[in-house]
Each structure stands twice: as C-alpha cells, then as structure tokens.
C-alpha cells in the first residue's frame, strides 16, 4: 500500500499516481522526517551574530528589509510590496507563495507550502505563521499559528529547520 503524501489516500502497491488527487507517487524523493530538538535551537541562538558583525545588505536599494539565510548565506531583499507569503512551490499546488524557499532545501527543512507571512506595518515588521506543519520559531520560541508577532532587527526566524535572520532597514 502506498499512502499519498498529498491527500493521504491509500493506493495499491505499484500505483504511480494517486487515484484520488493525481499526485505522483513514485520516481521522486521521499519525504524524510527530521527531528528537531530544543538543544539545536539553544545552540543556534548562541551563534546569533553580534550586532556589530551583522550583515548589512542595504546598498541604496529600496528594500525595507531582507532575509539572510543562515545555512547558505544568501540574502533575499524585501521590497516593492509590503507583504510576502513564504513557503515552497511544489507540483499541483493551487496557491503559490510570494517567496519560494524550495531552492534552499526548504523541503528537507520542513517548510510548509504556505508557511507564513512577513509584512511591514509602518516601522514595524510583523511575522505570522499560517498554520504550518512544523511551526515557526523566533529565537527558538515557537509561534502560535495565525497570531502576529513583531520582529526585531537581527531576530532568527526558523521555518521548520530553515533558519534565517531578519534584517530590518531603519527608515
């Protein structure tokens, strides 16, 4: 028996596509469950960089903030719009996130398809978890889903296991 990872329909062994939702069942990597222990978070808050050596991405662009991915060191600027949904794009998905994290191993890190939303409200930057499967942690503390949380410059946001530092431009 094969359980479809998309809709939990049980398919006969040997099936290649889910009979219920049509999602592909074989020929692609399996979802690996990862354990995230609190210790890892404690460790991660320790490596939180001091304010002095924090990455300064603002080179005259009009970004109001940016996301610094700690694992890969990449920086995603947040500009033009005031609100971005974050998640990963996968096949057969009706709603696309504004920021697709799938190039950064989002799948393996346990990021949901539609994980959370980051937005600007005046000078404040707010994050809200949209009921993700593996949760969102800010500086190691788990957020209550669908409740807004103000972010400060330099906070570490973890979507599942994918950690990023939030950099806010002071206007």
């Amino acid at each position: 028996m094969i359980v479809c990872s998309n809709c939990k329909h049980t398919n006969l062994d040997g099936a290649m596509f889910c009979a219920e939702c049509g999602a592909q069942l074989v020929g692609r990597e399996n979802l690996i469950t990862q354990n995230i222990t609190t210790k890892q978070f404690e460790d991660s808050s320790k490596d939180r960089p001091a304010a002095s050596d924090m990455y300064q991405p603002f080179d005259g662009s009009d970004a109001w903030g940016s996301l610094h991915l700690l694992d890969t060191g990449q920086v995603l600027p947040l500009s033009v719009r005031n609100e971005f949904t974050m998640g990963r794009i996968s096949e057969g998905q009706p709603i696309m996130p504004d920021i697709d994290l799938s190039p950064y191993q989002a799948y393996a890190a346990g990021v949901s398809r539609l994980h959370g939303v980051i937005k600007r409200d005046g000078n404040r930057v707010i994050f809200m978890d949209l009921g993700s499967a593996n949760g969102t942690y800010i500086n190691g503390k788990r957020l209550t889903p669908n409740v807004e949380q103000v972010l400060n410059h330099g906070d570490i946001v973890a979507l599942g296991k994918l950690k990023m530092q939030i950099l806010v431009r002071n206007s």
Partner: protein, 493 residues
C-alpha cells in the same frame, strides 16, 4: 518486402503450433480475400495459389509433420511490424496485498514511411440531417463533403448517406463518378426529422460493402448532433458486424446534445474513437484531419487475442495514440489502427492478487497481435505477446521508465475527469466537484489555464446546482484527450 516464400505458416499468417481449426480459419479468410473470381489485381492469383498449396500441406497432419521436419528453426521476426513493451517496474514484489503493474505496448511499421504506397480509400460519410442540424451546421457539413469529394484521388471511393428517421443514399459508392452531379445532390440535402442512428449506420455499411476491399481503408464517418433513442444496442451490433468486415467507424458529435459515451462505445467496437466538434466551423478541420489520418493508415485495426491467468485482472486499457481513448476489454480487443508515421501506443493496467505470486514468474497476459496491412495482400504473421514479470522479495529502486511515467501522468488527468463524471452520475456531487478541483490544480501546474478554469467552473456548478453546464462534460473530456495527444506528439519530436 522481405518475405520467406517457403514458409507456409507465414503465408497463412498462423503460428507453427497452430491447431487444425486455426489453420482452416486462416485459410478461409485468406481465400475469401484473394479468390481469383473476386480479385483481378496482378500477382494476386499467384498468392492465392501459394495459400492453397500451404493449406494443402498444413491441413494434412502427415504432410504437415514431414514439412515441419524440413523447417529451419523459427525466427521470431515479423517482417512488417515491430513492437516494444515497457513495464512500470522491473519485477513484482512478494506481498500479501494486491498490487498494480503497468505495461506500455508500442507497435509501429518496420518499413520506411516514405517507401510505403498510400492505400486507396473506401469511405462512407453518414450525415445526420435531423431538424437540429439546420443552419450553420448543415451548410458546413455540405461544404466539407463537397470539398472532400473534390479532393479524392481516382482510386478512392466516397459515398454519402443522409439520415433522419430514414436513410437516403446521397452519393452511392462507385469509382469514377460524375462529381458535378454528386455535388448537386449534396447541395440539395434538407434538414428535417429526428435522429435515428441505426438507419444511417445500416445504410452506410451497406454502401461501403459494395466496394469493400481489404486493400482499401474501409471506414464509416458518422456525423451527428443528437441522441438516438432506443436503437443503441442494435447500433452496437452493427458496429461489431462492421468490425468483422474490417470496416472502421469514427463518431463525430457536433454541439452539446449527443451521447459521447455511446459514440465512443460504437467506434470502440472497431478500434476507432469519437471526436467532439464544439463549433460548426470546426467541422471542416476535423473531417479533413480524419481523412488525412485515414490515408496514412498502415494497418487498420490491430486485434489482440489474449488469455489472462487467474488472480490477474486487466483493469484498464487505454490507447495513447494515434487516437486517444479507452479500449474496451473484450476478446479480441480492438486496439485501433497503426498509421504510417504514428505508431500505436497502448497502456495496460494489471491488478495482481497475492495467490498469483506463488511462482517465481507471474504471467500477466498471453496472447497474439493480429493486424492486416492495407497495402499488403497476404496475411501478416501474428505477433506473440507474452507479458510476464519475476517476483522478488524487495521492490526495485529503479525509477520507472520515463515514457510510462509521462504517459501515466497525462492519463491520470483523463481518469480524474472520468471519475468526476461517474461520481456525478451517482449523485455524489461533492466528490465529483473535489475530483474536478484536483484536476484543475494539475492543469494549472501544467499551464493549461483555460481548461483548468473550465474544470473549476464545472466544479462550482456541481456544488451549487448539482448539474453540469451544457457541454461541460464533453469540453473537459475531449480537451484532456487533446492534451494527452499533444503530450505524446511532443515526446516523439
């Protein structure tokens, strides 16, 4: 054409282990086709004599034994057709629950496509002229029929039947007719009356049989815009009769009021399929396309005779090309035509139950493919098809062949709309609507925005009004079919 003149089995088109019954049947079939009283083509009398000689030897057990002793070992090479079989996985797994396995059968021509002559046509257009055809539809049908008549080559035959409550021969089947006069007769067709498909089909078959010839492509094209009432079973019987005479049927439905399931079943009996014409202006394009496909026919209807062992079930058979459609599971199975430039691709889904796994190897299907090739008068030796898989303890980690994977991904979409329809027919509108939404999601991810929108629109209709919109089912069905065809074409390029 490389052809071993000495092999009497090949001449009759039977296997070497054929029973006397089979040999007799093959002889009668070939003799009917090639009898000198009927056939005047050069060289065919010689073929007839060869067949007679082969039968004389093989029908006598003593002489057959003597002859068998002189035969070189059998070489399983078919001179006219080549085939390939792909499986979804290299082996079955020893399991205590039922499992699925897919097989993709591809059959094509062995000859270079440019070196083949095109077969002459023997086509009958069976046109609905019920009251509902009045206006645009009728004008377009007339114009197209005349266009086709003018485009005929001297060796082609085109007859035209118009039917409503009764059928009338508009253009009889004949060679070298006065085209101007026939055009006038087509122009004079008037729309009136009800749709009774049986009448039209019967007259069409009668007309086509006047010039019936195995070296031609014999085909009936039925064009209708309405439902026939009460004579469906009789029509299906007629289609079986047509298939027995090697006459193919294509059903084309115009607008929203015709019964696509019935037309599919009707055409399916002969290995054909149905087509959907949403607007009158498409009539011309679809008919001309169909004509071109018929001209490039290599083998008209490939038959699969087969046996399936106990505990194995053939769940579903689907033709991916040249015409997309599901194939009715019956013995023999009509798989459909092989075109000169488009091989036949058929996908099989087998359900294997645990008791079948007792041996090391499981036989899924054992049978033979038979085809008659239009440009070749002699029988083609059948191709043995024996599908089997070994049973292992662990599933293989190899990814499935990409051709099967992509075929199945498209087919999954088609089956989703079938399921939605079945659910709606049973009054389960919620589940039908869910299937359609799932379908829409996949269509969107493939960039098929307009079809996805249609699917969502129908899902909404089902939820709110518990009904499809007019033409909704056909729209989704035939457009997903078209998608399948496009997917296949892209791959071969």
């Amino acid at each position: 054409m490389p052809f071993n003149k000495q092999d009497h089995y090949a001449i009759l088109g039977v296997f070497r282990d054929a029973s006397q019954e089979e040999i007799k049947r093959a002889y009668f079939e070939a003799a009917q086709r090639l009898h000198p009283d009927k056939n005047v083509a050069a060289g065919e009398t010689e073929l007839f004599l060869e067949i007679q000689k082969a039968y004389e030897i093989l029908s006598n057990p003593k002489r057959r034994n003597l002859y068998d002793a002189t035969l070189p070992p059998e070489i399983e090479v078919n001179s006219a057709l080549k085939h390939e079989i792909l499986f979804s996985r290299p082996n079955l797994v020893s399991l205590s629950e039922p499992q699925l396995v897919y097989a993709l059968l591809e059959i094509g021509t062995r000859a270079e496509k440019d070196s083949l002559p095109t077969p002459p046509l023997n086509i009958c257009l069976v046109l609905d002229r019920s009251t509902s055809m009045q206006g645009d539809k009728m004008d377009m049908v007339k114009a197209t029929a005349i266009q086709l008549l003018r485009s005929l080559r001297p060796e082609d035959v085109l007859s035209v039947i118009a039917f409503s409550d009764y059928a009338e021969v508009i253009v009889p089947a004949a060679i070298n007719m006065d085209i101007k006069k026939q055009e006038g007769r087509i122009q004079m067709m008037q729309a009136s009356g009800a749709t009774e498909i049986y009448n039209g089909l019967q007259a069409g078959l009668k007309e086509i049989r006047r010039t019936l010839d195995p070296s031609r492509v014999n085909h009936i094209i039925l064009l209708t815009d309405g439902q026939t009432y009460g004579d469906e079973q009789a029509c299906l019987k007629l289609a079986e009769e047509a298939a027995a005479h090697n006459v193919g049927i294509t059903g084309m439905g115009i607008g929203n009021d015709w019964n696509d399931i019935f037309l599919d079943a009707l055409a399916g009996k002969t290995g054909g399929s149905s087509a959907y014409i949403s607007k009158p202006k498409d009539i011309q394009r679809l008919l001309v396309d169909k004509f071109n496909a018929l001209i490039s026919t290599y083998a008209d209807d490939v038959l699969l005779e087969f046996k399936i062992p106990e505990h194995v079930k053939l769940n579903y058979v689907f033709r991916l090309q040249p015409e997309v459609g599901s194939v009715e599971i019956e013995i023999p199975m009509h798989l459909g035509p092989i075109l000169r430039d488009t091989p036949l691709h058929v996908l099989f889904e087998f359900l294997v139950s645990p008791p079948a796994l007792a041996d090391d190897t499981v036989e899924l299907l054992n049978g033979a493919l038979k085809a008659s090739i239009t440009v070749r008068p002699t029988p083609v030796p059948p191709i043995r098809i024996n599908l089997k898989r070994e049973v292992h303890n662990n599933p293989s980690m190899d990814p499935p062949p990409s051709r099967i994977l992509s075929a199945l991904s498209q087919l999954t979409l088609y089956r989703m709309q079938e399921r939605a329809r079945a659910a709606a027919d049973q009054g389960q509108y919620d589940s039908a609507s869910r299937h359609l939404k799932n379908l829409a999601t996949h269509l969107l991810s493939q960039g098929e925005h307009s079809l996805a929108k249609t699917a969502l629109f129908e899902a909404d209709n089902l939820e709110r009004m518990h009904a499809w919109s007019a033409g909704g089912t056909k729209n989704i069905k035939y457009n997903t079919r078209a998608l399948l065809l496009a997917g296949q074409k892209e791959k071969t390029k």
